[in-house]
């Protein structure tokens, strides 16, 4: 006869919660919820309004672009080939006109079919460009547009004010997400910004900047059924809490792992670190207004005195990268071979002597934690500068305005992203006439004329060989005038459950489309 002892009963009760919690895993065909812990969430989900790593990490799953940049087509996650996406084809009908054919049958989250009206609405005068655009950061990307009109239900025509070789790249970039016209008009700008409607693999359930953005699968997604039943991006500012949540199984993936934590997290058997060198460079800015730094030889000396590889090896575990100047392989044909950022302390000393530098103090201001490792790198560079005879001093300040305060700071830090895989989408955006350094005259007008002339010519040029020659001129001028210098391309590390197949890209986007997210067995 079977008896139930008190001990056995207690054991059974103790095991019951575990057995119940395991049940969902066995439910047939049930897709898992994918939980991502991020350091911060965007204020809104209007995709062009949130042009930042924090914003696009989330909005990339809600929206699609007409053309898709195939980041994952390259092993390093930085591919720049363009592929059909919401558009099936596109054709240049004149130097200033691009006709785009839309994919038929693509459904928005509200059930509407994507038509040319939605595309024309997305790129209308007054949203991304125009006199008072709704989106503050849209102009540098689409200020070049003269208009976008619907030709028929599935065809749109883009017209640019001048010939623009980058238009297709722009249409694949982070400002070109297609929004639903009906929802946008019915809800209004602010309400749409909180619960927008796109065509992406996941649709918005709720959004709270201080808590979580919850998305659910858009099962009519044109690239196939999403592999997760939903995605929750949770705002967890504290690293220890993100790591604890990942280890305990609350989260599937966590972002923003600093280099010094990589080895610790790699120690867990079921967790992977997946890192990628970002299409972004940390740079130094040299204030041309300063009487000492007004001499470009002093600025050049500051650059020659930095051993960038040492910074990469010591602060970034050797996983960051020193680029070939403001010049990146994803430019494809436009990439200039043989360029480098030399470390030459002797040349730095010679330049300082030539400039008659007499030990005047040079102040480098940085914010303590805005950029990863900024303070540590600053401390090392101060010593590198001192080693060549520069009387460098480090000051830590709170805001970017204090960092670039005229008369108080000669050197500050910054970062430049490669928004489009072309010099016009990186060097020109950051250091050209529309960039902060020129609009604030931190790069003095007299020293940037040749650079600007070559850049403006590049904007209007379509011949590949001439474009490359103009880029070389720009690069030469930028290095010679040295309004700043590049340090390195940092790496971004994610920690993820080993059983999940997912690859990061070199840009900030997190690609959770069905072809880049799948769940295996642990």
């Amino acid at each position: 006869m079977t008896t139930i002892s008190r001990r056995r009963l207690l054991q059974s009760v103790a095991v019951l919660p575990l057995a119940l919690s395991a049940l969902p895993a066995f439910a047939a065909g049930e897709r898992p919820m994918f939980t991502v812990a991020v350091a911060a969430l965007p204020a809104t989900l209007e995709p062009a309004r949130e042009l930042s790593n924090v914003g696009t990490r989330v909005t990339y799953s809600i929206f699609d672009t007409l053309i898709r940049r195939d980041f994952l087509g390259s092993p390093d996650g930085g591919g720049s080939e363009l592929k059909p996406h919401l558009a099936t084809k596109w054709e240049r009908v004149s130097p200033t006109e691009l006709v785009v054919t839309l994919r038929e049958g693509v459904k928005f989250h509200n059930g509407d079919e994507l038509t040319s009206d939605d595309v024309a609405y997305t790129f209308r005068d007054g949203r991304l460009y125009g006199k008072e655009p709704q989106i503050p950061g849209g102009k540098p990307y689409f200020g070049i547009l003269a208009g976008c009109e619907a030709v028929d239900k599935y065809t749109v025509r883009f017209t640019t004010r001048v010939p623009d070789v980058l238009l297709e790249q722009r249409l694949a970039s982070w400002c070109a997400w297609i929004v639903n016209k009906r929802a946008y008009e019915e809800m209004g700008f602010e309400a749409f910004s909180q619960k927008p409607v796109g065509t992406g693999p996941y649709k918005v359930v709720s959004h709270s900047e201080s808590d979580a953005t919850v998305l659910e699968a858009h099962d009519d997604y044109f690239l196939g059924t999403p592999t997760a039943k939903g995605v929750a991006f949770r705002a967890i500012p504290e690293l220890a809490a993100r790591v604890a949540g990942l280890v305990s199984g609350e989260f599937d993936l966590i972002t923003n792992i600093p280099p010094d934590q990589v080895a610790v997290i790699e120690g867990y058997d079921d967790i992977d670190i997946r890192s990628v060198v970002l299409a972004n460079s940390h740079v130094l800015v040299f204030d041309n207004h300063d009487p000492v730094l007004a001499d470009r030889r002093v600025r050049q000396a500051l650059s020659f005195a930095i051993d960038r590889q040492k910074l990469v090896d010591t602060l970034w575990l050797g996983k960051a990268k020193v680029p070939a100047s403001h010049n990146y392989p994803e430019y494809g044909q436009m990439f200039v071979e043989g360029r480098s950022l030399p470390f030459d302390p002797e040349k730095a000393k010679a330049l300082l002597a030539e400039a008659g530098y007499a030990g005047q103090p040079i102040v480098y201001r940085t914010q303590p934690a805005y950029y990863t490792n900024a303070l540590e790198a600053a401390q090392v560079m101060i010593e590198m500068w001192k080693a060549v005879g520069i009387n460098a001093e480090l000051q830590v300040v709170e805001t970017s305005a204090q960092m670039r305060e005229e008369g108080k700071s000669q050197i500050s830090n910054w970062s430049n992203s490669t928004r489009l895989p072309d010099p016009l989408g990186a060097l020109w955006v950051a250091w050209g006439p529309g960039g902060e350094m020129q609009t604030k005259d931190i790069w003095a007008p007299e020293s940037r004329e040749a650079f600007n002339a070559a850049g403006k010519a590049l904007e209007a040029e379509t011949d590949p060989a001439k474009r490359k020659a103009l880029f070389v001129t720009m690069l030469d001028e930028w290095e010679k005038e040295a309004p700043g210098t590049i340090l390195y391309q940092p790496f971004e590390a994610y920690a993820i459950k080993k059983s999940i197949a997912w690859r990061p890209t070199t840009f900030y986007f997190m690609d959770l489309r069905p072809d880049n997210l799948s769940f295996g067995q642990a």
């Binding site: 204020a43 503050p136 102009k139 910004s193 808590d211 949770r234 967890i236 504290e238 609350e250 970017s400």
Partner: protein
């Protein structure tokens, strides 16, 4: 209620309003002199003309006195403004956040009060013994330990090692345990120390000896004679602590991703979202002022020797 008491309450409310005005003015001036919010809020590549449009939209192009008067006028009508970054009404965001902060703060307060009083009284009754010294050592450790350190220790122990509690978030009561403990433990230490001192002072008084001489038991002495008399100093102590605890725990909320007022303050300060920062500071000031007012009124209720007018600082 006497006329003097009513006058005292009126004066006290006026003082509270003045304190709040002073506070919002200070915050208003400091925030606006600490840099242009448009620099921080808009993407770096925003063209100067678009930047200027946004400055105008947010009213930042106006002279500081005009901005200030407009802000005060809106505030007087109950309009806290609109967030620069989300475009949402600040009042709605605060209303969504406040209950979570109150939930965390009240739980911590309750926990700290029960634990702290128990430990403090126990230590006072065993004055000079090893138990007293041990309890007070624990209390000192509790309030000396920085919250950010204690919070991470608790995460490492309960979420990472034992895996019995969630490390972050606010979706269930289980999520409340670690942040409430983190907030409560240092406060428990302070309450215990204060309760011990207050009790010792009372326990040495002649009426306690009298009660004991009458044969009142230990528990009766504590509950009926010592504790009521130790309540006044404890109440004063809580007047400060309640305000601080309920007004949002910046560090604790950040560590445990608890979406309360403290988190909101940190996020909005780092983004220079001025309307949100101003609203949170205003609310924090209001909570502290109100909690002090309530404590002062309670003081006069508990201690018959003190009139309400005197307790409120308005007369004898």
């Amino acid at each position: 209620m006497t006329r003097a008491a009513l006058l005292a309450i009126g004066l006290r409310i006026l003082r509270a309003l003045f304190t709040m005005l002073l506070c919002v003015t200070l915050v208003f001036v400091v925030l606006r002199t600490a840099g242009d919010p448009a620099e921080q809020l808009l993407p770096a590549e925003t063209p100067p003309d678009v930047r200027e449009t946004y400055r105008q939209r947010w009213g930042l192009d106006q002279p500081l006195p005009v901005q200030y008067l407009r802000y005060i006028a809106n505030l007087a009508q109950g309009d806290l403004g609109t967030s620069f970054s989300s475009g949402q009404p600040v009042a709605a965001a605060v209303a969504e956040t406040l209950p979570r902060t109150l939930m965390l703060g009240l739980t911590a307060l309750l926990l700290a009060t029960v634990l702290g009083l128990t430990l403090g009284i126990a230590a006072a009754l065993r004055r000079g013994t090893a138990a007293d010294r041990g309890l007070m050592a624990v209390a000192v450790l509790g309030y000396s330990m920085p919250v950010f350190f204690l919070g991470i220790l608790l995460i490492l122990l309960f979420a990472l090692t034992l895996r019995v509690l969630p490390s972050s978030g606010s979706s269930s009561l289980r999520h409340l345990i670690l942040p409430a403990l983190t907030l409560a433990l240092p406060l428990t230490g302070r309450v215990a120390r204060f309760a011990r001192t207050a009790m010792l002072e009372v326990l040495g008084r002649p009426f306690i000896r009298g009660a004991r001489a009458k044969g009142v038991g230990n528990l009766g002495v504590i509950l009926r004679h010592a504790l009521p008399n130790a309540t006044v100093p404890l109440l004063m102590f809580f007047g400060i602590e309640i305000g601080l605890t309920l007004s949002g725990a910046v560090v604790t909320e950040t560590i445990f991703a608890w979406p309360g007022l403290g988190r909101m303050l940190v996020d909005s300060v780092s983004r220079r979202d001025l309307p949100v920062v101003q609203a949170v500071i205003l609310l924090v000031t209001l909570v502290i002022v109100l909690s002090n007012l309530v404590v002062d009124i309670l003081h006069s209720v508990i201690d018959p020797k003190v009139s309400m007018a005197r307790a409120l600082g308005g007369g004898t």
